[in-house]
Symmetry: C2
Subunit: 131 residues, 2 copies
């Protein structure tokens, strides 16, 4: 069986529309740039689909592994506790497992954005836009 990879972009969620929009648009950009991946977005709280709903939406896609990627700037309690609890990750391995279409699907957990030149470049671009 060949590997088919899913990416679940996980947003914080908000009662305001902005976080949902940004995370959904980023998921769509990844999907367009990498059409061989199945890309979904899900939210930790206050927005839909929830992370659980987004995981179940990989049903029928044939993914064998899902990379759960938090669209969060930095680590914190949501990254270290809340999202791993929702994903039911094994605290030893930081990996999880899900049954989809009767098959076991592996869940791996990516790091948040963090300090990266790409973020520095984007902040500089945002500053240039108003200077």
């Amino acid at each position: 069986m060949s590997e088919k990879i899913g990416i679940l972009a996980i947003g914080h969620g908000s009662r305001l529309p902005y976080n949902n929009q940004v995370v959904t648009e980023i998921a769509n950009m990844i999907k367009e740039a990498h059409p061989e991946y199945v890309v979904k977005a899900g939210f930790m709280e206050n927005s839909e689909p929830t992370v659980e709903e987004a995981l179940m939406s990989f049903e029928g896609t044939g993914v064998t592994t899902i990379a759960a990627a938090p669209v969060f700037l930095a680590s914190g309690i949501h990254i270290t506790k809340d999202i791993p609890a929702i994903l039911k990750l094994d605290p030893e391995t930081n990996e999880g497992e899900l049954e989809l279409d009767g098959n076991k699907v592996r869940i791996v957990y990516a790091k948040p954005l963090g300090s990266d030149e790409l973020i520095a470049d984007l902040i500089f671009k945002r500053a240039q836009e108003v200077l």
Copy 2:
């Protein structure tokens, strides 16, 4: 008088060290990439320096304009209300003014990171790291 530009990277701040580290490292990356700019980091809450302290730390640098750039993923109440209040921005123009070394310094306000290909690329890179 020639223009000298400051960039103030504004982080949310946190009692945990992660947000502070990421925002400070991003400010340092911008500083290294653009040594002709004066780059500082400041925090909205829970971390130091505060935004006010960071603004005052431009004293003696000779900056004529400061771009206040929120290191936040998406808009929300912090972006639309809290930070503009700290920066004392004019709600009409979204600009502010500060006196440093006896001179008026203009403050302009950048947009948060938002949905940008650079973020999509970084999320994809973070997924690849664990796949």
